[in-house]
């Protein structure tokens, strides 16, 4: 068997396009700071290398690592809780001397891997006992992360777990039952939230109540997007972004810069690219030969969607402010690496299916 580089070309091209668009916007959002763009470019390079590296690992091997990786993730989460570093009022970071990283990121991949491994060994749709076990496997890391507190990551990890469960064929009446239960548990969640989290929800419901404080982000981002119109004010010409009225404009609120400078047309272009990535991911999952690959690929793809939906929804005032970056575009490296590792897994699944067929 000749040596072969395992890469999915359509997915790779789409990702490159999105990242190129992202760098363009970042250059504008950072106040034309070449330095920021350069650093992001280096992170992207590293992330792409990691993605291609993971793509070379066959799913069978990933399957075998699922349980140990999950246990390691949980252990590190506990470590964060005990000896983690405080930053901006939350305890999320672990300093390993060489690198500082957030163990919660590991769970974004480790949890769906764990669930896919567990569920693929049992007949589908899962029985009640399996559902209970799976629920426990989801709840433990999600609660640990929510306690840091990091609502955004907890949300993403939870959605990864629930998507895996859903894809495994969970019966509809159970799903509806869970939704009803979730609605009933909302007051409980409210009582567990921290003050700043509650304030965010309240501000989301009525941003005008505090236009200079918590509501400022939402109001200014909507002004930026709304004033962009169909064609935008032009690249580097956004007054909200360039004159610094828009807060967090190179990180969580970078979507507003796109909306202001490139308008509805630029936004729709990005959404179409995102949609193409998601459809490609789901198609890879649907064609995967084994249950483990299917569940994992499907879950990774949907988490990607949750990322962008929550971020966009927040910036345009549809959802409360939750710290979730715009995938592949927001300035920063942590979530970027996890996302690209996920795409590496998708590529691994895709190329192994072809091999299987050619045999």
């Amino acid at each position: 068997m000749p040596a072969r580089l395992h890469i999915d070309l359509p997915l790779l091209l789409l990702l490159l396009l999105i990242c190129a668009l992202g760098l363009l916007i970042l250059y504008s959002a950072s106040g034309q700071s070449g330095e920021q763009v350069e650093r992001q470019l280096m992170r992207l390079g590293l992330a792409f290398v990691l993605m291609i590296a993971v793509a070379q690992v066959p799913p069978v091997l990933l399957c075998r690592w699922s349980l140990p990786l999950f246990l390691l993730g949980l252990l590190l989460l506990l470590a964060v809780l005990l000896v983690g570093e405080q930053s901006k009022g939350a305890q999320r970071w672990l300093d390993l001397g060489v690198v500082r990283f957030q163990p919660s990121e590991i769970l974004k991949l480790a949890l769906p891997m764990m669930l896919a491994w567990y569920l693929s060994l049992r007949p589908m749709p899962p029985r009640l006992l399996d559902i209970l076990v799976t629920s426990l496997l989801i709840a433990v890391p999600v609660l640990l992360i929510a306690k840091q507190p990091d609502l955004g990551t907890a949300l993403l990890v939870a959605s990864a777990g629930l998507t895996t469960l859903f894809l495994s064929g969970l019966r509809w009446r159970l799903i509806i039952g869970l939704i009803v239960l979730g609605a009933a548990a909302a007051p409980l969640a409210w009582s567990l939230m921290r003050d700043y989290q509650r304030r965010r929800v309240l501000t989301f419901l009525d941003p005008g109540s505090d236009p200079l404080g918590a509501g400022y982000h939402i109001i200014q981002s909507q002004i930026a997007i709304g004033s962009g119109g169909v064609h935008g004010k032009g690249w580097l010409e956004g007054t909200q972004s360039q004159l610094e009225f828009l807060p967090e404009r190179s990180t969580d609120f970078i979507f507003a810069v796109l909306g202001e400078e490139l308008g509805l047309s630029g936004v729709i272009l990005l959404m179409l690219l995102y949609l193409a990535v998601i459809l490609r991911g789901l198609s890879i999952a649907a064609q995967a030969p084994d249950a483990y690959s299917r569940l994992l690929a499907g879950s990774i793809t949907i988490v990607f969607f949750v990322y962008l939906f929550v971020n966009m929804g927040m910036v345009i005032g549809l959802l409360p402010v939750v710290g979730v970056p715009l995938p592949l575009i927001s300035y920063g490296g942590t979530s970027l690496v996890t996302l690209m590792l996920g795409f590496g897994i998708l590529m691994s699944v895709q190329t192994r299916r072809k091999l299987l067929q050619s045999e």
């Binding site: 064929g169 709304g226 119109g229 007054t239 909200q240 959404m271 649907a286 499907g298 005032g317």
Partner: protein, 636 residues
């Protein structure tokens, strides 16, 4: 077995595909939802958000107009604009005001007075407006702060034109002063026109002619970033400066009048009869208006307010005194005009007058009486009994009609803020104000200018000018001309005048002859101010502060100084060609002829003969006044 697993595999795959398809649908729906919201924001409400976005970055900045200057009739500056540098703090940008002020005080001295003013102004300021913590920074202090300014975001040196009154206390009452706009005024003024102004006229000409002096605000459009830094200036509308005012006031005469009064409490008003122009208007004691511009300290203000001599009180326009005998000639004219009295007809004075059927004795100032007197002698000797009789014959209504024609009982309308109108008592007034009937005896008292009858020095001067004009009442005014700027033409103000109802020259001649003999006559009450070079017509007066009992005699020495009679004098000169009419009141001055008349004479000498009481003002004086003031501000 193998087949079963195989079918399971296929079933699972089909189940997964349905679920994946379902999720794809959810994804598309989610993106469509976002797309719809984006359409709503970017298309439907695009205009709305464009307006908000422009509002964020484009700010309209007001440019305050330069306040008009005020000059006297010879071009001597009475109100000037001088550049001044203040250290201002914008509280919105400062986390801890106290520690910032403490740190600033290590660079430039900040006194307790400065802190007090800052605390006082803090709640009155408009949003995003700097509040001064120190005024009048010296060049050295400016440099010292400039070097360290990066440590103090939100603290700035504001250069502005500050009002300065070179004549100081000599013009405090008449010119007045400007002060910081307070909360009540903010609700009253046209806020857009005052958008860039921090001061407005509070007293005197500065207040009355605010509209002229202030001018019109200009605007410039600027682009700012989120931190408020100006990035670009766009179109602008330049402000229109306020108009300069040229007063009738003569600074030399004003100083001489003040010097003639000396440290006595009182007022002098001098009017040019032909124009109604106010040549001098002095209220004594006075105060320095300059500290009021920056904001006078509470202690300094309290000292002025609580001073027993009341320096803040403008006696010339707000001092309401019983005019005493100074109005006898006006009542005499009323008697002639109404036909009740004839000039040659004698009335007997036996030292007192009794109303028919009453025992009360209305006394003449001369206890043994004047005997039989005609009108002219009655005025010259100021016989009270003659005027009791005349008042009784005329009745209160008729008397009031003529007094009102001379301008008594209501403000003259001279263009100055805060003028009071005095009081012309009448039966209706007494019913309304006190709910009491009018007694016949009160008519007699009005006839000698006492009782409830009140007049201001300005009213007395204006009435005297009307007599000098032989029946033409010219409304007093301060502003001679205005102009829109240096080099522009002067635009004179118009005189408002009216004729009194009595146009018979013979009647006016009687009055003027009598007034002339008050000064020139052998028995005139003001004969001591007779001048050999020109002739003066006048009338003395004494108004009671303290009511003497029916059987008591007035003993000056026994009465507390503050309860002594006020001394008054009205007059004009020269008799044949009147160029100046003067009213003088000296509080608790005793006899009008002895104390008030010489002050009027000094004012007339100054105006008619250029005979100075104090040396003429020159530039050296002004410079001294200014450096003294600056030194005081720094020391504060």
């Amino acid at each position: 077995m193998l087949a079963e697993v195989f079918t399971d595999q296929r079933g699972e795959k089909r189940l997964f595909r349905i679920r994946a398809l379902f999720l794809a649908l959810i994804v598309i729906l989610g993106l469509a939802l976002i797309g719809m919201r984006l359409f709503h924001l970017q298309v439907t409400r695009h205009t709305h958000f464009t307006t908000l976005s422009d509002g964020n970055r484009i700010k309209i900045q007001p440019m305050p107009p330069t306040r008009g200057l005020i000059y006297d009739r010879n071009g001597v500056l009475l109100a000037d604009n001088v550049p001044s540098y203040a250290l201002t703090i914008e509280p919105e940008k400062i986390a801890d005001l106290e520690s910032t002020i403490a740190e600033l005080s290590t660079l430039v001295p900040i006194s307790e007075l400065d802190r007090e003013r800052f605390r006082r102004l803090l709640p009155q300021r408009r949003r995003f407006e700097g509040v001064p913590i120190r005024l009048d920074l010296s060049e050295v202090e400016r440099a010292r702060f400039a070097v360290q300014s990066h440590r103090f975001p939100g603290v700035e040196i504001a250069a502005e034109l500050s009002r300065f009154y070179p004549q100081g206390l000599h013009t405090a009452h008449v010119v007045g002063y400007v002060g910081r706009i307070n909360q009540q005024e903010l609700e009253r003024i046209d806020r857009s026109n005052y958008a860039g102004s921090s001061h407005l006229g509070k007293v005197g000409v500065e207040k009355y002619h605010e509209a002229w002096l202030h001018g019109h605000v200009g605007y410039q459009q600027v682009v700012v970033n989120a931190r408020g830094r100006i990035l670009e200036r766009r179109e602008e509308k330049t402000p229109v400066s306020g108009r300069d005012l040229h007063l009738f006031l003569d600074m030399n005469l004003q100083r001489d009048a003040a010097a003639a009064l000396g440290d006595r409490r009182g007022a002098v008003v001098a009017i040019e009869p032909e124009t109604g122009g106010v040549l001098a208007m002095v209220s004594s004691p006075s105060y320095d208006p300059n500290p009021f511009v920056g904001g006078i300290g509470f202690k300094a203000f309290a000292a002025l307010r609580d001073d027993i001599d009341r320096p803040l009180y403008d006696r010339a326009i707000r001092g309401q005194y019983p005019p005493g005998s100074t109005i006898k000639q006006f009542i005499a004219l009323g008697g002639l005009a109404s036909g009740v009295a004839r000039a040659r007809e004698g009335k007997h004075c036996g030292g007192y007058f009794q109303l028919p059927g009453h025992s009360h004795r209305y006394r003449c100032w001369r206890a043994r009486g004047h005997g039989s007197l005609a009108m002219e002698d009655a005025i010259v000797q100021s016989c009270d009994v003659y005027f009791y009789r005349l008042a009784h014959d005329m009745g209160i209504e008729r008397m009031n009609k003529y007094l009102a024609e001379f301008g008594f009982g209501r403000p003259t309308g001279a263009v100055i803020a805060g003028e009071l109108g005095g009081l012309l008592p009448s039966p209706e007034w007494k019913r309304r104000a006190r709910n009491q009937p009018w007694f016949p005896g009160e008519t007699l008292i009005v006839g000698i200018g006492q009782g409830a009858f009140l007049a201001t020095p300005l009213q007395l001067a204006a009435a005297t000018a009307a007599a000098a004009n032989r029946g033409v009442y010219v409304q007093p005014r301060l502003v001679n001309a205005t102009r829109s700027g240096l080099g522009e033409p002067l635009e004179p103000t118009a005189a408002q005048q009216r004729h009194l109802s009595d146009k018979d020259p013979a009647h006016w001649q009687v009055i003027i002859d009598a007034m002339t003999n008050v000064v020139e006559g052998r028995r005139g009450t003001a004969r001591r101010i007779h001048h050999q070079d020109y002739r003066i017509a006048g009338k003395t007066g004494t108004s009671q502060v303290f009511t003497i009992g029916q059987n008591e005699t007035y003993n000056e020495a026994e009465i507390d100084e503050r309860l002594r009679d006020h001394a008054l004098f009205v007059g004009f000169a020269p008799v044949d060609n009147p160029r100046i009419a003067v009213a003088v009141i000296i509080e608790n001055g005793g006899s009008g002829g002895a104390t008030a008349a010489p002050v009027a004479r000094a004012v007339m000498d100054s105006w008619l003969l250029d005979q100075r009481v104090v040396p003429a003002t020159d530039d050296a004086d002004e410079t001294d006044a200014r450096s003294a003031m600056v030194a005081r501000r720094v020391n504060e």
